[in-house]
């Protein structure tokens, strides 16, 4: 076993994902199978290999800097248009401080 149901519940907590017992059971099986397959990577000695974090960078390090030009922003109404709940120009959320 690479992963237990208890670990799956812990990871779901980290991911802010509520899952049913049925989903937990299914995910435990699926993740176990996938993680077992992933273990084949250990056959490769990569101790002298630099990790590849990006594909390529074809320009000098300041090339992506640009002039600081004024540009119209989205605006409050457009930015909030897709909010499930908004008010007074802000996103509204349930109570944050739990007692």
């Amino acid at each position: 076993m690479k992963i237990t149901e208890q670990e799956v519940r812990y990871v779901a907590g980290l991911a802010n994902l509520s899952l049913t017992d049925q989903e937990i059971a299914r995910l435990s099986r699926d993740l176990d199978e996938i993680l077992t397959h992933i273990d084949t990577l250990n056959e490769l000695d990569t101790s002298n290999v630099q990790p590849m974090a990006q594909v390529l960078y074809d320009a000098g390090e300041t090339a992506t800097l640009r002039e600081d030009r004024e540009r119209a922003t989205l605006g409050n109404a457009a930015a909030l248009a897709n909010a499930p709940a908004a008010g007074a120009g802000y996103y509204k959320v349930p109570r944050v401080i739990e007692r």
């Binding site: 992963i3 670990e7 799956v8 990871v11 779901a12 980290l14 991911a15 802010n16 994902l17 509520s18 899952l19 989903e23 299914r26 995910l27 699926d30 993740l31 199978e33 996938i34 993680l35 397959h37 992933i38 273990d39 084949t40 990577l41 250990n42 056959e43 490769l44 990569t46 290999v49 630099q50 990790p51 590849m52 974090a53 990006q54 594909v55 390529l56 074809d58 320009a59 090339a63 992506t64 640009r66 989205l74 457009a78 930015a79 248009a81 897709n82 909010a83 499930p84 709940a85 996103y91 959320v93 349930p94 109570r95 944050v96 739990e98």
Partner: protein
């Protein structure tokens, strides 16, 4: 109008240009026919999620006005275009194939969309796809699967299944898709159209809803190599809204479609053909024989890290996806599950709105990034990724292009592989290597199986050598690769 509608399914960009120039039809007439046709045909395939008649007519009117005024209406004037629903369109619903974004109307356009409309293209609708582009069959869409126009009981491939199906069906002349691990090439091969994944950074990702940022690409579908190249020509090039977009100049792809592929060196990687006894493999071998007849020098090469690509890919893509999808928390994007506290609201919203495959990938990605596992998984996968890129670098010191299958098999039946996620992941073996290395790659039609299912041949070239890739694909298409055994 019906004559035009009937013709629509086979139109090329060039024919549209000539039709507009010769006043055989106006852009508005074409747009109206295209939307009507696409709406009527959609009952067969479910390729479109949203139609954009109003936006299409506005774009077409702009084209007609320019033509009337004697101005250049642009290289893609009047061309009916479908856009995968993970690419944002201002004022036009963009769902990402997810229930979570069912009512999401973006406040801005993706850079690729802006460039296409400036070139005169006419967006007729948004296409179905696997939820947040996660899947290889289009069965992970919250809006139902897409059916393959070549065989309606089969999948179109994924995740850009709707875009591939629309172009194959003829309801769009060209389409935009996105590719993170084969999501353009695999559906292109399953549906029998051309699908292109350009060099990473060649096309701005601004406005592409992020899945795995170090792997995501936007790319075109077309019924011909030339049409796909014309779309890439329009969308390629540096964009200051995407810091990873490349500065490299964009050459004239079309001018290079000269058919001259004699003495081009083609590598055939032995690892991609080991145990490949399927009909698809046979068609690819025949395709390679066609390339030899065209004067290409074919030689066997080795890409030894190939078998580790799938596990490396599923670490990197899920790790990045788990971060990117954290933004869907019930605060900003239309969907919220009611709860007493903020953290409960996060959990319930995400638990209720994400589909099974998204949850699986969020969980795997969160696990591999969780405390104590980073080095063993994500860092290890990045090192393996470097080895895969190095395999290609060495190979391209010897050859100009690499030719492989796109998929081990043609389109499978709906539901056939749904219960085995690992098997579905393993079927991506031939396409994810190109994404990991970030090199340009494409699928070009390479005949059909005895049952009439399309098979695509993959061509991969060096970073930014889309030119060589298109030249080879175009020569292959003209040599009859398109119809292959038929």
């Amino acid at each position: 109008m019906s004559a035009q509608v009937a013709d629509l399914a086979g139109l090329t960009i060039n024919e549209i240009r000539n039709g507009l120039k010769g006043r055989s039809f106006s852009a508005v007439e074409l747009a109206r026919s295209a939307v009507e046709f696409a709406e009527a045909e959609n009952t067969k395939t479910n390729a479109f999620l949203t139609f954009s008649a109003e936006r299409a007519l506005e774009a077409a009117e702009r084209v007609d006005r320019k033509i009337a005024a004697g101005e250049d209406p642009g290289p893609l004037a009047g061309v009916p275009l479908a856009v995968k629903d993970v690419i944002v369109t201002k004022g036009l619903r963009t769902t990402c194939g997810s229930k979570l974004l069912e009512r999401y109307v973006p406040p801005y356009d993706a850079t690729a969309v802006i460039r296409l409309e400036q070139a005169g293209a006419v967006i007729i609708g948004k296409t179905n796809c696997d939820e947040f582009a996660m899947g290889s069959s289009n069965e992970n869409s919250a809006y139902g699967p897409v059916r393959n126009p070549a065989a309606l009981d089969r999948v179109p491939g994924g995740s850009s299944g709707g875009s591939a199906a629309a172009v194959a069906q003829g309801t769009a002349v060209v389409a935009l898709g996105s590719d993170t691990g084969g999501s353009i090439r695999q559906p292109a091969s399953f549906c029998g159209v051309v699908g292109v994944t350009p060099t990473y950074g060649r096309v701005s990702r601004y406005g592409l809803v992020a899945f795995a940022s170090s792997l995501d690409h936007i790319g075109p579908f077309g019924r011909t190599v030339k049409d796909a190249a014309l779309v890439l020509q329009t969308i390629a090039g540096r964009d200051e809204c995407d810091a990873t977009s490349a500065f490299a100049p964009v050459p004239d792809y079309i001018a290079q479609l000269d058919g001259n592929v004699a003495r081009m060196k083609i590598g055939v990687p032995r690892e991609y053909f080991e145990g490949l006894t399927s009909e698809s493999g046979e068609l690819i071998r025949r395709g390679i024989a066609t390339l030899e007849l065209l004067g290409c020098e074919v030689r066997e090469i080795s890409l030894p890290t190939t078998k580790y690509a799938v596990p490396a890919y599923y670490i990197i893509c899920t790790a990045e996806a788990s971060s990117n999808l954290a933004r869907y928390d019930g605060v900003r994007y239309t969907t919220r599950a009611e709860a007493e506290t903020l953290s409960d609201m996060y959990r319930k919203t995400r638990g209720a709105a994400f589909g099974a495959e998204c949850k699986r990938r969020i969980m795997l990605g969160t696990y591999v990034l969780s405390h104590g596992y980073y080095d063993a998984y994500y860092l290890k996968a990045q090192r393996v990724r470097a080895l895969i890129a190095e395999d290609f670098r060495k190979a391209f010191a010897e050859v100009d292009a690499i030719v492989t299958p796109v998929s081990p098999f043609p389109a499978f039946k709906l539901g056939e592989k749904l219960d085995d996620p690992l098997e579905m992941y393993l079927s991506d073996i031939y396409t994810i290597t190109g994404d990991l290395a970030g090199i340009p790659c494409m699928s070009v039609p390479c005949g059909k199986t005895a049952a009439g299912l399309p098979v695509g041949m993959q061509i991969l070239t060096r970073h930014f050598d889309e030119t060589g890739m298109f030249r080879l694909a175009d020569a292959f298409e003209k040599a009859g690769g398109f119809t292959g055994s038929n």
